[in-house]
Symmetry: C2
Subunit: 164 residues, 2 copies
DNA sequence: TATTGTTATACTCTATAACTATA
DNA sequence: TATAGTTATAGAGTATAACAATA
C-alpha cells in the first residue's frame, strides 16, 4: 500500500505544482490560501500544524504570499504575539481561480474511477486522514474539503467557481 | 483532497519509518526489498523508476543494504552494464519480518475503516496509482500489493507470516 | 516559564555533472 | 551515440538554535 500511496501522492504534488505555476510556494501555498479563506487557522502556528510544516517554513511561505499581495498578516487583538493570516481581495480572486484549476487537476488524477468510485475514494481518504490526526481542527478541514468536492459535483453555470 | 492525501502519506511514512527502525534506508529500503523479492526490478534503474527515486539515490540505498548483508548486486549475464538486485537469505528473513510489521502498521493506519471499507480503499488507491503511472511494471507491482493484502486477510495460523 | 514569530545557521536530502564500462 | 552504474559536487529544502515580544 505504501507504494501506491507514494505514487498517488507524488502524482498529486506534481500535478498540483504544475497547476499552481506562478504562485510562490506551489501547492502548499494553495493550501494556505484555502485554509485561511475558511478562517480556520487563527495563527501561523496553527496553520503550520494543520498543514504539517514547520513554523519557520510557514514564515518563508507567508513572506512570499505577502510579497505577491495575496495575504496579509493582521495582529490578533486577543493575543498580541500572534498574527492572523487573512486573504486580500486579490488573494480571494486568485483562490477562486485556483479552486477551479485544482478541482480539474484532481478530476484528472482520479480519471480512472467513475463518479461513485471517486466519491467513495474521497470519503474513505478523508476518514483515514481524520483518524491519522486525532485533532479537532483537522476534522473540520476534512469536512470542508468534502463540502467543496460535493459542491463541485453540482452543475456549473460558468467557467469559474461561483463568486458574487 | 490534497490535504488529506498529504496527511495520510505523512502518517504512513512516519509509521513505516518507525516500524523499519534498524533497517538502513527506512521505508524505502523495505520497498526495495519487497520489489526485489518479486524479481520485478531486473536492474537498479528499473527499480529506481518503479519507486520514483533517482538512480543515484538508489546507489546509496543499495550500498547500505549491501553493507547490512540484506541484498547482493549480481551481474546481469544479458547486459554486463546492469546489476540485478537479489536478496540474501538474511534479506529474505528480514523481509518476512518486515512484511508482518508493515501489515500491522497499515492496519493501524486504516483502523477507522471497517474491513470492507479497508478493502475498498486499497482497491481504489491501487486503481488510481495504476492510472497515475501508465506503465506495465507498475500495474504488476500494484497487483502484487493487492495480492499480499488479500493473503493477509486469510485466517493466520501463527504470529508471523507464513514461511516454510 | 511557555509561546508566537522571526532570523541565521547548519544539516539533510536530492539532483546535477562528470566519469567508466558496456551496448 | 546511448545507457547502467558510480562518485563528487552543488543545490534545494528543512530543521535547529537563538532572539525579541508577549502571555
Amino acid at each position: 500500500m505504501g507504494w501506491a500511496l507514494a505514487v498517488v501522492f507524488r502524482g498529486y504534488v506534481k500535478a498540483a505544482d504544475a497547476v499552481a505555476e506562478g504562485l510562490p510556494g506551489g501547492h502548499r501555498a494553495y493550501q494556505i490560501l484555502s485554509a485561511a479563506a475558511r478562517d480556520e487557522p487563527g495563527s501561523q502556528a496553527a496553520l503550520a500544524h494543520l498543514l504539517g510544516i514547520d513554523r519557520t517554513v510557514m514564515t518563508y511561505l507567508l513572506d512570499d504570499l505577502v510579497g505577491a499581495g495575496l495575504v496579509e498578516r493582521q495582529p490578533d487583538p486577543d493575543d498580541r504575539r500572534s498574527r492572523r493570516v487573512v486573504l486580500t481581495a486579490r488573494g480571494r480572486d486568485m483562490l477562486a481561480d485556483l479552486d477551479e484549476r485544482f478541482r480539474r487537476a484532481e478530476m484528472h488524477l482520479l480519471a480512472s474511477l467513475d463518479d461513485p468510485e471517486q466519491q467513495a475514494f474521497r470519503s474513505l481518504l478523508c476518514a483515514v486522514a481524520a483518524h491519522v490526526n486525532d485533532l479537532d481542527p483537522v476534522a473540520t478541514a476534512c469536512d470542508a474539503v468534502q463540502e467543496i468536492s460535493r459542491r463541485a459535483d453540482q452543475p456549473r453555470s460558468g467557467t469559474a467557481a461561483a463568486r458574487p
